[in-house]
Symmetry: C2
Subunit: 195 residues, 2 copies
């Protein structure tokens, strides 16, 4: 998605440790007009998939998921990062390994809102190591719902998440795949789109 | 907002400890069509206020804030609950007392995205004790921005947050104010609208 790549080149900041800071428009301050274009694009790509629910994860996935959902006319469900030990029996749970936190945490959704008959599109702002996305895939699986695919705004193509998910046969549509980035020069190279 | 009150009566679940569970449409699963009506209503109420930025707080405020923002055509900024001790100098910070957690936590926004010249509308899904909202008010104040008001989806009128904010002269528009609710009968009474 050219508009997004142009915006990443213009406003993205490369920091040490492979960090791409896009908090001026994606995951702190959020450019709603850009989100509308993102929603239009994901809908174009997944229009024929019979999506009836969008699943994302708190916090920064929620905003873009809600705008995307308007183009599909479906509800959004967000997985919560569980902070307490005592989980009620009425939730599906998956474990996510966080490299940032250096430990595992649980993500949960209510059983009431996900199950057989649902056709689920996963939406998230970032895909890097893919552990959060794998957790969402697991939640869909244990619920008995059908996974239609995953829509990602920015994928770090040099980290293993995207390849791992695609290797499992999951359709991953990333609107911008960063192939490499150079902190010294500020240069960002995107993967060529095949479509 | 009648549509919202009807929905709360239909799908809201009253739990012990003054808990009103609306996770089927507001803060876990999110009904995007309802959010659009909410956005239309807030825009009607704040149309002449010159809002150029919406500020909310993670996590459950983000979705509704993003849909509301589409009616204003402005970006959304969400305050982050700070999990780390080391805060960089480039953020505004406010303290929030959490009754649920039984302790204070910090919320932060980047200085880059909030400042003099901004006219800020606060949006959140719930207003009860009002501590999170007070934190957002504080962030606006220290940034030098102008606070236009606060838009709340559901206010618990029997808890002190709304009265405290209005007592400070802040314009608070709540789309449904729960005056009382009865766990035994399931009955919910809403405050009469003055408009």
């Amino acid at each position: 998605m050219q508009l997004l790549k142009d915006r990443i080149r213009k406003d993205g900041k490369i920091k040490s440790g492979d960090v791409l800071k896009v908090d001026s428009f994606l995951n702190h301050q959020m450019d709603i007009h850009m989100f509308e274009e993102i929603g239009r694009e994901f809908h174009k790509r997944f229009a024929d998939s019979g999506v009836n629910k969008i699943l994302t994860i708190e916090a920064s996935g929620i905003g873009v998921a809600c705008v995307v959902a308007q183009y599909f006319g479906v509800p959004v469900l967000f997985a919560k990062k569980n902070k307490t030990k005592n989980i009620a029996g009425d939730v599906y749970t998956a474990k996510v390994m966080s490299f940032t936190l250096g430990r595992e945490y649980d993500i949960i959704v209510s059983k009431e809102f996900l199950g057989a008959g649902d056709r689920v599109l996963l939406i998230d702002d970032f895909l890097a190591n893919g552990k959060a996305m794998e957790g969402l895939v697991e939640l869909v699986k244990v619920s008995g719902a059908t996974l239609v695919g995953a829509g990602v705004v920015i994928e770090k193509g040099f980290q293993p998440g995207g390849a791992a998910l695609r290797g499992k046969g999951i359709r991953v549509e990333s609107l911008a795949i960063v192939e490499s980035m150079d902190e010294a020069t500020g240069e960002i190279t995107f993967r060529e789109e095949t479509a």
